[in-house]
């Protein structure tokens, strides 16, 4: 009998041996080494063992009887130390075994990040039964805590299992969303939500710095940002590396893995390799499906039959109960690719298809994965989907053959299909209401409540109206925010508050965005709404801002920028003017202009010079004037009682106080103030967003003025006696505007929509509300009242430079 020696009793070699014995029982005398002190078990089922849903015994795939009946010499718990290819023997810890053919199936090693403290007791990987039992033991200790580094498949299964056993678990993930290799941001968001619902803490975009210990035992994980996460167990699940050391020592060709050809033969024709330890055509493997194909081919090769290993599309599922996700193929953006997105926020469903040349090449699904096999089939078979393009996203149930438009898909919905998830309204109920005379959206809402809650099914309800009424129905023209959604700005704002949506991706998902990541119209608006409503929770997204606000300067038609430092209330001094003059010289500023807002504009500054000129201006005590922002611009003042013979109050002083209180705040559109010392109104206060005119008895405050495309006079808000009260009222009115206005509505448009009376009720009459508004404004200012110039000089100066200079490179 020929001698076959196998190194590693894992999932790949187990399957290979089955094929060998099936085809030619008795042809081989097999010796099977395994470093683990046991035979083959279903490694992927360690997760259910960890969570307690299965026992180890249930996941054993080959038991002692099986090995015996096939005459396998089991050398379990014995590591192979070397292979002597010249003599064709394998050297185990307990002695040598000669071979005719040898098969490497050594799997892979978990990667351990070499953080300080990685060798402490209690820091483990997640790979085998020992690791699993270790986790189960620690989880049994009352009140124990675990940290899992790595938010990929393995890390999350470990976290879910530990949580299932009652542990307090935190997942620390370096990327902005979970399972980023398999999921896109939207699916990652939904997954995170399900896991958080299970009580697992998730920290994304978090960098581990050091593992802290006490008496040689792990005590906590320290993150880059200084956060300490106490733990009794630290599981590292950050990836695997093919286990190639032995093969390399034996002189086989090794890259990332052991090189094999299509027949699973290594650089030595008598040695084969299968499983995670191999590298085939540049690829390495981490899921069992391809390993099983390899096992089949390896068995054929051993039997001297034709066999060819071909890499196929792979699909991923996560084995955590209640988290239904599926991803397959390639879903990165790319040349000529197109996305189709479907979201059902009420059910937490997200589905995205990536199409290229009329073929499905990638799919990501979350929530409802019932049709995943059908989609996977379309990918694998490279089916031409040209004639089901409009409806393919709805799944196989809607493929009636031939063309089908989306309305037809709605028409094809059965009567008991749910349309409005919030209120549980079926299509039938809506059709009945329409037949009984509800012929527009308002009437359907009033009679059935469909689309009356979160409103995201509005489009669907309208389509039901359209299919039921035919030509009698005209789609209403409520103007949606942009092409990415059917919702209006008002709806979106309302829902961001009502549903407590605190991130861009949660808005896209929960409100059913039709595009993957919005467009240049909705992103700045969403970024503003989130900043205004959740100043503490939401992190400003510079990539969703128009360039002026991203680079804190006004872009000019030739791509240069203008720089306007703040001049509080229009007051400056020799020192500031000198610094401005010096800067103008130093950076060759072509134009220096006095603006219409009482300050000085340096126009034509090169993008690369911005951080430098800012640093210089900062040194002279000047900060950004936000001349570029949807935020507080200028507070124009006149000289007031300080100098003017008519002045009634200190208009300059009040203007400066207001500017110091308000600067740095973001608003729906720009906000300009004016404070005039008497009704002669030299500061033009009556055409500002907030205008204050000082009189003998106090301060007249008006809002909603403008002198741009529309010329608007302010409307009287209130007259107050003290400066203090004038400040409070101004701040409260601006905060109310911040909280309720549509993005890009100047204050006058907002007053027109909401009514002056309503504003007066909110900020003048209701003193508690005024106070609360001021407090919310102040809270937001604790985050946003920072000079962005100083911050960019400090942290981002580098990003203002070209990322590379090939002119120099080529010349060198």
């Amino acid at each position: 009998m020929k001698k076959l020696v196998v190194i590693g009793a894992g999932m790949a070699s187990g399957r290979a041996l089955e094929h060998v014995f099936d085809a030619a029982e008795g042809a081989w005398d097999v010796t099977l080494f395994n470093a683990e002190p046991r035979g083959n078990y279903n490694r992927i089922m360690l997760s259910p063992v960890l969570s307690g849903e299965k026992t180890y015994e249930e996941i054993v795939t080959h038991d002692a009887d099986w090995y015996e009946s096939h005459g396998v010499n089991c050398r379990f718990g014995e590591k192979v130390i070397s292979v002597d290819r010249a003599r064709k023997v394998v050297v185990g810890e307990k002695g040598e075994v000669p071979y005719d053919k040898l098969m490497f199936a050594t799997g892979s090693n978990p990667f351990i990040i070499p953080l300080p403290g990685h060798d402490l007791d209690g820091v483990i990987a997640y790979r085998d039964l020992e690791d699993t039992n270790r986790m189960i033991d620690v989880a049994a200790e009352e009140g124990s805590k675990a940290v899992v580094i790595g938010g990929g498949l393995l890390g999350l299964e470990a976290a879910a299992g530990l949580r299932f056993r009652g542990m307090d678990v935190t997942v620390v993930h370096i990327n902005p969303w979970l399972m980023e290799r398999q999921l896109d941001e939207a699916a990652g968001y939904l997954l995170r939500k399900s896991l958080v619902d299970k009580g697992i803490h998730i920290k994304c975009a978090a960098n581990s710095k050091e593992i802290l210990g006490e008496d040689g035992k792990v005590k906590a994980l320290l993150l880059d940002d200084g956060t300490e996460l106490p733990c009794d167990l630290l599981v590292m699940a950050v990836g695997i590396r093919p286990n190639v050391a032995l093969a390399q020592d034996a002189g086989l060709a090794v890259g990332k893995g052991i090189h094999v050809d299509d027949q699973m033969i290594t650089s030595d024709e008598d040695i084969l390799a299968v499983g995670e330890c191999v590298e085939h055509n540049g690829a390495i493997f981490g899921l069992v499906a391809p390993l099983y194909d390899q096992a089949k081919v390896a068995a054929k090769t051993l039997m001297e039959e034709e066999g060819t290993f071909v890499q196929k599309e792979l699909a991923t599922k996560l084995k955590v109960t209640g988290c239904d996700l599926f991803s397959a193929g390639d879903f990165a953006d790319g040349e000529g690719r197109e996305d189709i997105v479907f979201r059902d926020p009420a059910r937490g469903v997200y589905r995205r298809l990536v199409i290229e040349d009329n073929k499905l090449i990638g799919v990501v699904m979350y929530g409802d994965t019932a049709d995943s096999n059908w989609f996977f089939g379309l990918i694998k078979d490279k089916t031409d989907i040209a004639n089901m393009r409009e409806t393919v996203i709805f799944g196989p149930a809607y493929q009636g053959g031939g063309d089908m438009d989306p309305l037809a898909a709605v028409a094809a919905l059965p009567l008991d299909a749910e349309v409005c998830g919030c209120n549980g309204i079926c299509k039938g109920t809506i059709v009945t209401a329409i037949e009984n005379g509800a012929t527009d959206l308002g009437a359907v809402r009033a009679t059935t409540k469909a689309s009356a809650s979160c409103g995201t099914c509005t489009g669907l309800v309208e389509q039901v109206l359209a299919t039921t009424l035919g030509d009698d129905f005209v789609l209403p023209a409520a103007e949606p925010m942009c092409g990415c959604t059917d919702l209006t700005h008002e709806d979106v704002r309302r829902m961001i508050k009502a549903q407590e949506l605190k991130s861009m991706v949660s808005v896209w998902q929960e409100l059913g965005w039709k595009t993957v990541d919005g467009c240049a119209k909705c992103r700045p608006a969403l970024n503003y709404y989130l900043i205004a409503d959740w100043p503490l929770e939401y992190l400003d997204d510079p990539q969703s801002r128009f360039i002026n606000e991203r680079k804190h300067a006004n872009i000019q038609k030739d791509g240069t920028f203008s720089v306007v430092p703040r001049m509080w209330g229009g007051i400056t001094n020799a020192n500031e003017l000198r610094a401005i003059a010096d800067a103008a010289d130093k950076y060759n500023v072509p134009t220096v202009k006095v603006t219409g807002g009482q300050r000085i504009d340096l126009l034509g500054v090169k993008g690369e010079d911005l951080p430098n000129i800012w640093a210089d201006l900062n040194k002279a005590g000047m900060v950004s004037g936000h001349a570029y922002s949807k935020g507080l611009r200028t507070v124009k003042t006149c000289v007031g009682t300080d100098h003017c013979r008519f002045g009634t109050q200190d208009s300059t002083g009040l203007g400066i106080k207001l500017e110091k209180a308000l600067w740095g705040s973001w608003t729906p559109h720009k906000v300009k103030l004016g404070v005039s010392g008497c009704p002669r109104n030299c500061a033009e206060a009556t055409c500002k967003d907030v205008g204050i005119v000082c009189v003998d008895s106090g301060f007249q405050i008006g809002i909603g003025g403008a002198a741009g495309m529309d010329l608007k006079e302010i409307q009287p808000l209130a007259q107050v006696e003290t400066e203090e009260e004038a400040m409070q009222l101004t701040i409260a009115a601006i905060q109310l505007y911040r909280e309720t206005a549509k993005y890009l509505d100047r204050m006058y448009k907002w007053v027109d929509k909401f009514g002056l009376d309503w504003v007066i009720e909110q900020v003048v009459d209701d003193l508690d509300n005024r106070q609360a508004l001021v407090e919310r404004f102040d809270l937001s200012q604790t985050i946003y009242q920072k000079d962005p110039w100083a911050q960019h000089v400090e942290e981002e100066a580098e990003t203002y430079q070209p990322i590379a200079n090939l002119v120099l490179e080529a010349a060198e």
Partner: protein, 112 residues
């Protein structure tokens, strides 16, 4: 012939962002999408030479900062009602580094 030049680490460009590369042929904007794909285009909008690297990146498009034309990062073609196109260059990510196909960009200098 393609000549891949390592220009920077992927992290040097924010997701949904861009940075500019200076070349002998003018400035090239290198974009990174939310899915970590990279694209390189001339940094000049076909409308009035707006600096595309300063635009807002969404999906595989960029909106020009000057007058909101939308340009496909894949093809360089202007989308929607407007017309025109921008030169594109090969770009890819390998081991976390951005590689730019500089064959069209350095020829002039190399010949000197």
């Amino acid at each position: 012939m393609t000549t891949w030049i390592d220009i920077a680490a992927l992290e040097d460009i924010p997701q949904r962002g861009a940075r500019m590369v200076k070349t002998a042929h003018g400035c090239v904007a290198v974009f990174r999408t939310a899915e970590d794909e990279v694209f390189a285009l001339d940094n000049a909008c076909p409308h009035k030479q707006g600096p595309l690297a300063e635009g807002i990146v969404h999906g595989v498009s960029v909106t020009c900062p000057l007058h909101n034309w939308v340009i496909s990062l894949e093809t360089g073609l202007v989308q929607g009602p407007d017309e025109g196109s921008v030169e594109t260059y090969g770009a890819q990510v390998e081991n976390g580094r951005i590689l730019l196909d500089a064959s069209k960009l350095t020829t002039q200098v190399a010949a000197e």
